[in-house]
Subunit: 496 residues, 2 copies
Amino acid sequence: MTKTDSPQPLANKTSTTNSQQPGKKQIRKKSENMSEWYTDVILKAKIADYSPVRGSMVLRPYGFAIWERIREELDKKLAQLGCQNSYFPLFIPMSLLEKEKSHVEGFSPELAVVTHGGGQELEEPLVVRPTSETIMYEMYSRWIHSYRDLPLCLNQWNNVVRWEKRTQFFLRSMEFLWQEAHTVHESHQEAQQMVLSALDAYAEIAQDLLAIPVLKGVKSESEKFAGAFQTVTIEALMPDGKALQSGTSHDLGQNFSRAFNIVFQDQQGENQFAWQTSFGLSTRIMGGLIMTHGDDQGLVFPPQVAPIQVSLLPVRTDDYRLVEYCKLLKSRLEKKGVRCEVDDREKLSFGYRLNDAELRGIPLRVEIGPKELNAAEIQIAVRHLHEKRKLAVATFEEGVEKLLAWIQQDMFTKAKERVKSMTYEVDNFEDFKRIMKENRGLIKAYWDETPETEAKIKEITKATTRCVLLDEPESEGLCVYSGQPAKRRWYFAQAY
Amino acid sequence: MTKTDSPQPLANKTSTTNSQQPGKKQIRKKSENMSEWYTDVILKAKIADYSPVRGSMVLRPYGFAIWERIREELDKKLAQLGCQNSYFPLFIPMSLLEKEKSHVEGFSPELAVVTHGGGQELEEPLVVRPTSETIMYEMYSRWIHSYRDLPLCLNQWNNVVRWEKRTQFFLRSMEFLWQEAHTVHESHQEAQQMVLSALDAYAEIAQDLLAIPVLKGVKSESEKFAGAFQTVTIEALMPDGKALQSGTSHDLGQNFSRAFNIVFQDQQGENQFAWQTSFGLSTRIMGGLIMTHGDDQGLVFPPQVAPIQVSLLPVRTDDYRLVEYCKLLKSRLEKKGVRCEVDDREKLSFGYRLNDAELRGIPLRVEIGPKELNAAEIQIAVRHLHEKRKLAVATFEEGVEKLLAWIQQDMFTKAKERVKSMTYEVDNFEDFKRIMKENRGLIKAYWDETPETEAKIKEITKATTRCVLLDEPESEGLCVYSGQPAKRRWYFAQAY
């Protein structure tokens, strides 16, 4: 693949149709051009579609089901961290947004502004939330008075708007869905613990649910969240060699509590500014899921997140014995909690339905013809390997369960091996430039940690600092660009 | 109660605090002034709060948990109807909204309009969705080509904005949360069936989950949805005698399919305009829940919807035996799926915690003191009756389960009796006026079904037509206002 293979802009193009007509799959090859493949597979598998609003997309049921799976699992993890769900207004008065200086500077180029309501011009414009720090913290300052009110940990699952010039399905869109949690603590230490626990939860979602390997690290000063003291991140590497920031967790220090006057009386009776965090994970990670695992035949979903784990296909839909046998197997699997479908759509050929199951990335596929009705073993097609396995009918459920668990693990292992093969430890800038030009991928290199060097490297190679690992040991080295003393290797990559 | 007792406007007032300081409950009495009580109980029980944005509210965790319960149950019912979840953009181009004439006329006074994005004035203003017919149907017209693409039934759980002059917690707010489902069918009959099935689902949510009795009926021409062929509704009656429209389901006929060119080829190969429906239920119904069941001590939640069904209170929080015993009972109840809490918040007196459990409307409360540790029976306080019952410890879980089921039923029965006592069959306009002035409530009366009479009755009594029952038989009568022949009794009430 070449450097120009990244997904195309999300413009208002002709959309796909819903039509269930037999026909060719018509997706271009990932192995030849990931960018074209990415758009094709999203449209043809009915994950999402272009909308009449430039830069916004429509999330269709099959795509939304993926988000629901992520939400379900992450919601449990956030509850374990003590976060409670809540809902705050979509609109933020401009004056509130301006309370924290670096925050408004970071977001002001991206704002959508409501100037008219109910047929009248508003006295004060309202901003459509790009994130909810300011409106939530205004409320926090009203609610928090004593250490007894802490910790306060609220989460929202909502939609936010950031005006983007170049948009792409999932990776960058004007409106997106996410969760944003905002927590308040008595001490910096407790806040820092929450920042790291949240990052762990995100890494588990990425790795255990989505089988996307991630680095857990700290962002540089220039890459951190607008208004944060420190930002930590999970970073994934896509098959085209570009990095995808997939979830961030921010130590806000006392920056916002000072701006919003969030003060509590501590156990000694002294007034203190509170310590805060915020962290968010968005539908963006679905772009990472699609790119990480898909192949020339279409999507490939890891079983944990797959809305449908097993597709049961009667070879002929007009033979009731085949359809009934599929339904029997389905009910046996559902008793074990396996998510499955019988695809007995009439008027669609077997070949079409088979290709469609592949396109939709369903981890396992079972084809039931007359021979299978009396067989003691059934063949089952493993999507990510393009191989078939045999399972005993007597222990079919157990066989499927084991296979699903193994697929999840195997897909993660393969993804880790790919990332490893695209990661380079580099000690001179010529190699750095060459790798970024020829291969892209992740470069691990010493950096003097000055913004000047960071900007120069970006200017020359388009690579930005992604993060320094949380557990990266200090060592002695020379900056790959400036030759100045440096103490830690950082990860660099071109990024979405 | 008098006519001025309805909930107060949702202005930007001083909000409540989060502080867990012992103190008086400070809620005014429902029996004296429901309006003041309604605001107090929402603020003090931390259901919601005023926000910095006029007309928008903050949904706090305890209030949001109620919405999550409603969402969970309704989502299952909608899936059974064949609806799939999806997500469409928040912004709608003004030109799209204008495609269906009566629709845009109905909504244009209530629109919030984005005129600037990314620092620039937009060429075409974007409307913040007041409802999603237009943007969804634009996509439907791209997706639907053949009868094989039908039925198409999509649902969204989202936020919508309608610019309201007078706002109240839940009942009327500028932004609210809801679900909106939009279905497309081959025939009018199939669409009509969906309209009624959706209404049944809403009635089950209201009656079985929330214990709110509702009428199922048809709206008049002037009260139907902007753009609909016909609207059906569930209508509830609040204790102040005002009706609350609690969920609506619309037969859109072919109005929108003609405006948006949603055409399919039928089984005979002919092109046809599709038949459509839409239906929605919002956080508004939470206002109905609060008003229907609350009392002078605070909220009262039916067990099915209560986020916490049983509160276990150690009389002293510094006696570990009491706390441990509460935790033991909690774990026994949780095994049966009962939602419970141990309120062992230190520094809060027993009296405060007891009042707080009442304020929060938790259906059952158990107080554990030293005596209870070795007792074979435990007293349990039933919130809606202010009575205590005894349960054998040996069969505690079963006793609680039975009691919860009975409470659900009893609360619904009592609510039905109240509504019955506030419903009047009226045959002359003097009685109509007197009842609306003195008692409010529901009036069932003959109406000649002309918009002129409807408008006159509204002008004189503030009462509007609420609905005519779906199964109201035709009969012969004279219009209560005009004396003209009329064929059915309609329900009238003043309404939120």
